[in-house]
């Protein structure tokens, strides 16, 4: 049982401040959908609007095709997992999990049965009598998931629930969350500022900045075909080269940058004379010179060995260095500090986007 969520021109204002600006989205039933953006971009506001804790200033939220206007959070087919989990500290694990059933008047016997089932699902069998404080971080996490699933929501909303866990556990919980979602088959809406989480778990991602949805697509598309400079710079590492388009055809555009004329894919159909930014990912660069309109040279500032790869930092035209990631098996000689190194890339891996706001470093 899952339901889609539609945002229909949703705007949320707090006084003068617009937290969410005209968001329109169609999240399909059974989808694992993520909102990705830096803190303060409005993603949590969207979540609270879907769960019913906030009313949109304008626009409509529909869940399963039904308008949610005037329906409170306790009457919506959604369940929310809070960033700090908000488990009830005075209740046992089983009481926490079945609280939603208790307020619906489900009998104690049925509740205990359901608690048993859910404890099995989250791999904590027989731990229902423990107090929440006796659990580890990852276990609490799973109890919060079970508590939300107990009320059989059609949509599960998750507000950065993994942010309090350490790295190893976080990576493990990603796989686990995804597996639980596949098993229960309901819509998951996931809020995160961690692109790794968004990319690994989601069917689709909405990248947000300053209350505006920048791009909605699957992870691969968001990474390879960013719509805006913000998406290109926020999702993954990227090297921006700002300049002016000197020549453009349907497929490629060449732009005049501080490092010479460079070429990249012209997805946005820019014309000669437009202000633009070329983005080339660190792993798209190769050491050595290539085609003249896809090669640049600069002074090596430093390099960092990271095991499977080595990052080489070259002096850029702006404050930001140019990062080049050299894979280990390439057998390349890493340029030493002060040495001028030439690097090139495949123009198909460079993206020319119209000039715009980038993510803060």
């Amino acid at each position: 049982m899952s339901a889609g969520v539609e945002l229909d021109h949703v705007t949320v204002r707090f006084g003068q401040f617009t937290a969410v600006d005209d968001a329109t989205l169609d999240i399909k039933g059974g989808e694992f959908f993520s909102f990705l953006g830096p803190s303060g971009c409005g993603k949590t506001t969207i979540l609270r609007t879907v769960s019913g804790f906030l009313d949109p200033s304008a626009g409509k939220v529909r869940i399963g095709g039904q308008d949610m206007g005037g329906i409170g959070p306790n009457k919506r087919p959604t369940a929310l997992i809070f960033q700090n989990l908000a488990l009830f500290p005075l209740m046992t694990v089983a009481d926490n999990i079945t609280y939603g059933l208790r307020v619906r008047g489900v009998s104690k016997a049925d509740r205990m049965k359901k608690a048993g089932e859910l404890l099995d699902l989250i791999a904590l069998p027989g731990q229902g009598d423990k107090l929440v404080s006796e659990l580890s971080g990852g276990q609490k996490q799973r109890v919060a998931i079970a508590r939300a699933l107990a009320v059989q929501p059609k949509v599960l909303l998750l507000d950065e629930p993994l942010s309090a866990l350490d790295l190893k556990l976080r990576q493990h919980m990603r796989t686990e969350l995804r597996a639980i979602q596949q098993q229960v088959g309901i819509t998951f809406i996931y809020i995160t500022h961690d692109q790794g989480e968004a990319l690994t778990m989601s069917d689709r991602i909405a990248v947000m900045s300053d209350g505006v949805i920048q791009q909605v697509s699957d992870g691969k598309n968001v990474y390879d075909h960013p719509d805006t400079p913000f998406v290109a710079s926020f999702v993954g590492e990227n090297n921006p080269f700002a300049g002016k388009v000197v020549s453009a055809d349907g497929e490629y555009a060449a732009i005049e940058t501080a490092h010479g004329v460079l070429r990249g894919r012209n997805d946005k159909k820019l014309k000669a004379g437009d202000r633009a930014i070329l983005f080339v990912r660190p792993e798209s660069f190769k050491l050595g010179a290539g085609a003249s309109d896809a090669t640049l040279a600069s002074e090596t500032i430093s390099s960092a060995f990271e095991g499977n790869a080595t990052h080489v930092f070259l002096k850029g035209a702006t404050k930001k260095d140019i990062t080049v990631t050299v894979a280990r098996h390439g057998g390349h000689k890493i340029p030493t500090q002060g040495e001028t190194a030439a690097i090139h890339y495949d123009p198909a891996m460079g993206v020319v986007l119209p000039d715009g706001k980038m993510a803060r470093e």
């Binding site: 804790f53 959070p73 809070f82 009830f88 939603g100 307020v103 939300a148 009320v151």
Partner: protein, 334 residues
């Protein structure tokens, strides 16, 4: 030696205990570099500290009460005979609460006043809780900072008005020819004025008003530290507002509730001014009886005995309630 003077030996015992504690402190510390109390402070300062603590805890706190306890076990005697052959330990003061000393009949007047005082205090406590809980919840969780400040101010400022003024202005409101009766008569709601003071409305209002703050601050403190997400989580899981309070807020605030209720009950049961000014002509408040024994009859032993009966009953009642609601005493003073 009279048992009254025996009480004054206790300071010496306590000072000796403090001394021994200070001496043995070094042995208890497992850290070999740990300096003993006297090594740290020097002999002179060390002794001064011990004397000061002993003086404070004994002379200012414990001894006066102890003296009263001893007093309550003595007969009432003229000053000349105190310490004389008639001065002996006796339970007669406590017995006089249950049986009249004159004829041995049941002392229903005093026992009734006692029950009435306890009962009224319980009602006042419950009434105060009913008023303060929503207000404290609003202040702690719902209201904006600015509104909370205004409410705080509105709560505190009336307490600058002294008790007598407050009590008599309440009389002005509630008296037979008071403002409320005038209004009721004027609008034709009643034919005859209602004597609010005679039916103890004044007593209840006065007592509740007097201890409002004592209830609201422990509640506010307890609810304020509750994570808002807990409330939202319960709401999100489908709980209507009253179940959120029943299952999440009240269990969490229980120590604060217990603390506030205990204080209001104790203070109300032991209050003197409000019942005297606002009680009806036939209302007999227990502490008024105690007061009369001390200051009208000059019967200190009986007054002390009555006061201790009240204290013991209040403590027992509070303990019972704490047990009933599964709150430990330690939690209430957090």
């Amino acid at each position: 030696m009279s048992s009254r003077l025996l009480v004054f030996l206790i300071p010496l015992v306590v000072i000796a205990i403090f001394w021994l504690m200070a001496r043995s402190e070094k042995k208890l510390a497992h850290d070999p570099t740990h300096k003993s109390f006297f090594e740290r402070n020097g002999m002179v300062l060390g002794i001064t500290f011990i004397m000061l603590v002993a003086f404070w805890s004994l002379f200012l706190v414990v001894l006066p009460y102890l003296y009263m306890v001893v007093e309550s076990f003595h007969p009432k005697l003229p000053p000349m005979q105190r310490g004389g052959p008639d001065d002996h330990l006796t339970l007669e003061q406590y017995k006089s609460f249950f049986f009249e000393p004159m004829d041995g009949s049941l002392n229903t007047t005093h026992m009734w006043a006692f029950v009435f005082s306890i009962f009224t205090s319980v009602v006042v406590t419950a009434f105060n809780f009913a008023i303060c809980y929503p207000l404290a919840y609003y202040m702690a969780q719902a209201g904006s900072l600015q509104k909370v400040r205004i409410i705080m101010l509105a709560l505190i400022v009336p307490y600058w008005v002294n008790e007598i003024l407050r009590a008599f202005s309440l009389r002005l409101l509630l008296a037979s020819k008071g403002l409320i009766n005038q209004a009721l008569l004027g609008t034709g709601l009643t034919e005859k004025p209602i004597d609010f003071l005679a039916i103890d409305v004044g007593l209840y209002v006065g007592l509740s008003y007097a201890y409002l703050l004592v209830m609201i601050f422990p509640l506010y403190n307890a609810i304020e530290s509750l994570d808002k997400n807990q409330i939202e989580a319960a709401r999100d899981l489908g709980a209507p507002w009253w179940k959120i309070h029943r299952d999440v807020v009240i269990p969490y605030a229980k120590p604060g509730i217990a603390s506030g209720c205990t204080m209001v009950f104790m203070l109300a049961a032991g209050s003197l001014a409000a019942p005297q000014f606002l009680g009806g002509p036939s209302t007999l408040w227990f502490t008024s009886i105690v007061y009369d024994f001390f200051f009208q009859a000059f019967n200190w032993p009986r007054g002390a005995a009555y006061a201790f009966i009240l204290l013991a009953a209040c403590i027992a009642f509070v303990m019972l309630m704490l047990r009933l609601f599964k709150v430990s005493l330690g939690e209430t003073i957090k």
